[in-house]
Symmetry: C2
Subunit: 204 residues, 2 copies
DNA sequence: TCGACCATGTAACCAGTTACATGATTGG
DNA sequence: CCAATCATGTAACTGGTTACATGGTCGA
């Protein structure tokens, strides 16, 4: 069997809080962890089985009407593995922003295409913020499912909002700037652009 | 054959600028595009072959000493495909930050583990910024390989620096905050934490 | 009672990564 | 002249996704 991934440990971490069915795990990961560690729903079902094979989780069969359902709980050796993992160094952070790829190649298209792409990014960030806001409002309302973990969730939320805010602010600025261009085609930089570039190179 | 991915189009975009060998493409993607669309080196070799199969690129064999080398160039139908792609909507942006997963589960470990993880994130962001700075300094120096595309690269750089700055600022703040904790274990939120949470829920 | 949606998965595929391999070049 | 590094890939594996399937439930 191959090495457990960060995704494995993220599910193990959820199991450390309480037992869950796979379906509940899907819900929880989509609800919260998706923001920093997005994975598809189906993937959870496979991954949690691996935890069982590793001896890090137990699977218990429950009846649910005529169907059955599997509830997973962490084992002592699972807790030990989780703790060992917390001692290792996290992977390099990464971002994937397709809109930026399009900006990079914007000289192959029109100003309109570029503005559309940046506007889409802006809307995407807004929509993520809206999700986050709804989630946060729920927690403010009734404490959420884990009222005693708010001190951990809070800085996560603050980071994410800042990130989205940076994104929308930037997108607004660049949309305004680009809208004044005749074309995104290649051309020599203006003096102002060169100055901004120098600022970047000297950033603290 | 299966649908081309964003990675395919990102290579096609590079080919639209000039012909490249696969090795040069690797260098260029690692140099710049990696920041917003990171992919492994080996992947480039496979992907560019797909472009040829699609009829979007031509492969020319060159001699290089006793070895041979393949230089790729875009075809007219490749240019058309690129332009069509620019009309579609970009995928949702996503971030993967393992350190945040660890923060989420920090109550399963110690304050020290959490501080280590956040410090690692801080250092990782610093190191990315340092790479970016070196790259930018090179462009300021001699204009870089594409001096007429600075107007496109500039906003990309500005976004990325802001992102990293946000990350290091946040990490510094949270490290300081966490260092005052006895333990990251679950506990009720303080009044101050609840107030911050409410601020988030009402963010503009 | 029927359509829609929730609950609970499975199967197949593929994008992407890791590991390796070999020839050329260059600096010490 | 030898080690290290650059240049140029290939092969094998796997993490992750997309697509699908089926049973239950609830509201209109």
């Amino acid at each position: 069997m191959t090495r457990p991934t960060t995704t494995s440990y993220s599910l193990l971490g959820l199991l450390a809080l309480q037992p869950w069915t796979a379906y509940e795990l899907v819900g929880q990961t989509q609800r919260s962890m998706r923001f920093f560690w997005p994975r598809s729903e189906a993937h959870v079902y496979g991954e949690v089985k691996r935890l069982v094979k590793l001896g890090w989780a137990d699977a218990a069969n429950e009846a649910a009407g005529k169907r059955h359902r599997t509830r997973y709980s962490i084992t002592p050796s699972g807790r030990a593995a989780l703790n060992e993992w917390l001692d290792t160094t996290p992977a390099m952070p990464m971002v994937e922003i397709e809109a930026m790829v399009r900006l990079f190649f914007a000289d192959q298209g029109t100003v309109e295409q570029l503005v559309n792409s940046l506007t889409a990014l802006r809307d995407q960030a807004d929509s993520l913020a809206e999700h986050g806001r709804a989630l946060t409002a729920g927690i403010v309302d009734d404490g959420g499912p884990f009222p005693n973990r708010i001190h951990l969730i809070l800085p996560l939320g603050e980071y994410y909002y800042g990130l989205l805010r940076h994104t929308t602010d930037w997108a607004d600025r660049v949309i305004a700037e680009v809208a004044t261009w005749d074309s995104p085609a290649d051309r020599p930089p203006t003096a102002a652009e060169l100055a901004r570039l120098r600022d970047l190179a000297e950033a603290p």
